[in-house]
Symmetry: C7
Subunit: 100 residues, 7 copies
């Protein structure tokens, strides 16, 4: 689908996983096929309005478009973009930290 | 059943799954039988009045009839329409994003 | 038991499952033994006073006697009537929609 | 134990299961050994003061001594009386309906 | 340990299980080794101050030292006394009824 | 680690398990290798400030340094001290009673 | 990733596990390969703003950068730093105590 048209709801965000170059101790860059771990860093493409509490009050998210975030592995829902790239819809609680 | 007569309750919505044309990298459209993944995009046909909190206050849903929504796979209850098509009754929390 | 004497408590309702005639695409009505899915539509025979919140306030149910409701499969408790028919006691949360 | 001395606490009730005479369609009464289902109807022998919410307020139960109630199978705790009969201590939430 | 020195905390109580004499229908008392069920009746030896809610308010227990209580099987924590007897620390919710 | 430097957080306490001398009915003290059950009595070495509720109010614990407490088996986190002894970090809810 | 750029969110903290030298009773330091247990002590490198309750009020964490903390084994999310060292993102509830 066309990910530029995705508008996340509630406390959800749309993230583009960022593949980290993985180096060995000696500094050799490993090609993609050697790296087995799924990426844990992503760039925020779109954010929802935020979590709404039981009384109907909404709290904006603590990150914004363009932020790089670290998220827990295996969380969220995978989305395949029209550009054949993988995207992810995550919830606020899946985001552990911002990478400045 | 006649889905035009379904009136969802509480925070539920009636959705008609939309089958995305799936293309290979080279642009070739894959016939339906090759695509194995269940669709994750649906058109909203009817919405309930919204979630009611413990004090009896109701909060309207954030999407309306005609919206295209992205929902988590394997969520909701399947409904077979009189037109032999598949429909789905989902809850607000199953809806991840709106597709504009 | 005599289902006409059942008075549901709290947010429960007594429902008589409605067997839908199932037709093939060509319009042929399938006999009952061919249809394997349990019915998901029922007629409301009696309703409880409604859910009571933690402070003791009661909220009336959103459906009434005579309504046709759609409910999630495998929910509720089966009741065998004196008339040898099957009935069901369901909770408010099991009811997905009203069929108008 | 002597069930006449049991005083249920909180939202619990003491129930004497009622064995329903089960008839075949032709009206033949089936002897007890043929009927395999455990009874789901019971007579209320004693009730507790009712559920207490988190603030210490107590809500009386919606049924009283002598009521016939329908309860979910396999719920509650079995009690063997001095009279060799089986009794049951149930919670309010196990009671689905009153049989008038 | 010396059970006379046990001071239960919060909504917990110290109970001495009471072995019921079990009789057959003919009135013959069964020796202890024949009876397989664990006792469900106990005498309250000591009670805690009661449950404390989230705001720090404490609610005294509904039973006191000397009461005979009926409790759910397999609940609580077994304590072996210096007198080689078995005792039990139970929570308020494990107590189903008082036996007067 | 040096357990004298452990400062428990929230509703946690540091406990030194106390091995009870176990005697047979005849009064013979069993050597340690015969006793298989893990100790359930411990001496409180340090306590946290207490549980904090959702509004940020803190409730001090009901036991203090030097108290002997009874705790549920298999609860808490084992800590190996520099003195090669075993210690335990427990939560308030794991403490069943004080042993006076 | 560059851990100096990690800014934890909500009640999360970034921790560098500290490997304790493990000595036998005779005082012999065991080489790393003999010690099998994962470290349970870590140094706090960065802290989030703190837990936010349902009404949107934030409560600062009870530990700060530079604190040594004891955490439950197998908790948190592992992070591999650019320096080839292992780091951990933990939640407030995983921290059992401060080591002064």
């Amino acid at each position: 689908m066309d990910v530029t048209k995705i508008k996340p709801l509630a406390d959800r965000i749309l993230v583009k996983p960022v593949e980290e170059e993985e180096k060995t101790k000696g500094g050799i860059v490993l090609p993609d096929t050697v790296s087995k771990e799924k990426p844990q860093i992503g760039e925020v493409l779109a954010v929802g309005p935020g979590r709404t509490n039981d009384d109907g009050k909404t709290f904006p998210l603590q990150f914004k478009k363009g932020d790089k975030v670290i998220y827990a592995k295996y969380s969220g829902t995978d989305i395949k973009g029209d550009d054949d790239e993988d995207y992810l819809i995550l919830s606020e609680k899946d985001i552990l930290a911002i990478l400045e």
